[in-house]
């Protein structure tokens, strides 16, 4: 009791709110991955503040997370194969399993009952019950798996780096029914699904262009996008693979990071023909549309990763550039897009910008921050 009293006094001294949120609302909260310390910073969107830290999550390099439908729990996918369930209100770990040796991302089913993890070692996807974290399905692929997303109808879609395939796992009837699609292309490195759950796009490292699938078809056939892209110029060395995320759609077009080139590519979302290219500061890592689609924010690979450029969707021109600091790793928009939160790893901070004026609104200290995730993602397919 005395010890608890001292702890509470200490928290009060540090100016941190006390853990536990009696009001129980999580709608404007979020989590920031602190990769080196294996911790999560709990952030409050409205207050522009950190309200706590959850520790003990293992190796969080390249970690990502998804939210339960009630926005109370996060499922965190660590690089070391750890799957951790976190309670945001109590700011505590409530479950943790080591489910593989080397992992890369995950997804939660549309009904919130299943969480799937994509593994490099052993290559494949494993699916867990979100209440108990017990494994309910194991889908070995014989390949590193990438680009795992949720799709409507209790399905998960993912791609195979080594064999150039995309698999659809349908769990609507219990055990997974697998649809294999071959001929996606050489070395898919990541993928996205559109917010309506219809289109899956895999980026290719080993081939030019990207490959789309129409998931509304019973047996989707690969649609090759920009198959000639990049052939006329020598590729630059790639020091960081780009990321694809379901934020890439703006005003009827996809905006996609080019691999090995200093540009983003615009593609018509209906017929997949190229509609433009925008020259950028460096090789893009994320090209993310503001939720309304009016702007696209782009960050860049090492060694040009101190800069963000903002592209106007109508003109496809760079209209603004900011330099948040060394190693800008991720950007997260507030759900309606009035702000963007940016992690600046080597400056040890998260910076908040107004997306209309580009004015800096706040800075929040964080330890080597990478991914930023607001709870509103709970209600978005593919996030």
């Amino acid at each position: 009791m005395k010890r608890a009293g001292i702890l509470l006094a200490l928290l009060a001294t540090l100016g941190l709110p006390l853990p536990g949120n009696c009001a129980g609302a999580t709608g404007d909260l979020g989590l920031v991955v602190e990769r080196e310390t294996g911790s999560l910073l709990v952030i409050d969107q409205s207050d522009h503040a950190a309200i706590g830290r959850i520790e003990g999550l293992g190796d969080l390099s390249h970690a990502s997370l998804v939210y339960s439908p009630d926005e109370r729990f996060a499922f965190v996918f660590g690089r070391d194969g750890g799957l951790t369930k976190v309670d945001i209100l109590d700011q505590a770990i409530v479950g943790r399993v080591m489910q593989a040796g080397n992992s890369i991302g995950g997804a939660i089913s549309d009904d919130g009952r299943l969480v799937a993890v994509s593994n490099y070692e052993p290559g494949g996807v494993r699916i867990f019950d979100t209440d108990t974290l017990e494994m309910v399905a194991d889908i070995p692929t014989g390949s590193k798996t990438v680009g795992l997303v949720d799709a409507p109808g209790r399905r998960f879609v993912f791609s195979l780096w080594d064999s150039g395939e995309t698999w659809i796992a349908d769990l609507s009837k219990g055990s997974p029914a697998i649809t294999r699609i071959t001929g996606i292309g050489s070395n898919p490195y990541d993928a996205l699904i559109t917010g309506d759950g219809r289109t899956y796009i895999a980026g290719l490292f080993g081939d030019d262009g990207l490959t789309a699938l129409d998931l509304w078809q019973d047996q989707p056939a690969p649609i090759h996008i920009l198959p000639d892209y990049g052939r006329e110029e020598q590729d630059l060395p790639v020091y960081k693979m780009p990321h694809l995320e379901g934020w890439a759609q703006a005003a009827g077009e996809f905006v996609l990071p080019a691999v090995g080139h200093h540009e983003v590519l615009w593609v018509d979302a209906n017929d997949f023909h190229e509609t433009g290219r925008t020259q950028t500061h460096g090789q893009p890592v994320f090209a993310m549309a503001r939720p309304d689609g009016r702007q696209v924010w782009v960050n860049f690979a090492h060694p040009l990763n101190d800069t963000i450029q903002i592209i106007d969707t109508l003109t496809k021109k760079v209209i603004h550039e900011i330099r948040p600091g060394p190693a800008v790793l991720h950007m997260e928009f507030t759900p309606r897009g009035h702000e963007v939160w940016v992690s600046v790893r080597d400056a040890g901070k998260v910076v908040v910008y107004d997306t209309h004026t580009f004015e800096q609104l706040a800075e929040i200290a964080a330890i080597s921050p990478s991914g930023i995730f607001f709870t509103a993602r709970a209600h978005r397919t593919g996030l």
Binding site: D59, H62, N102, N187, P237, A327, R345
Partner: protein, 97 residues
Amino acid sequence: MAYLALCGAALAADGTPKPEALKRLVHQDCGSCHGITLRGGLGPDIRPASLARYTSESLTAVILDGVPGTPMPPWRPLITGTEAQWIAEYLLTGGTP
């Protein structure tokens, strides 16, 4: 300081590599593909046991010139030969070059 290091200025004025800056480069930027703990990701495991077939010279060459036909890029545009050799020895000895 860390940012300068990533831009290829991880050498002190006298030309000797700066270990802290290079360690950061290895774990953060090589780590993009090989994992922050170097256990592998899209790229292979690069801990000492996995690199047993390399000599300091051959690994330095891989770092500088990459591996054609794979995603391993040449780092020559960003670091010096001395820095690449420091990184090779750091990797081969598991952190005690």
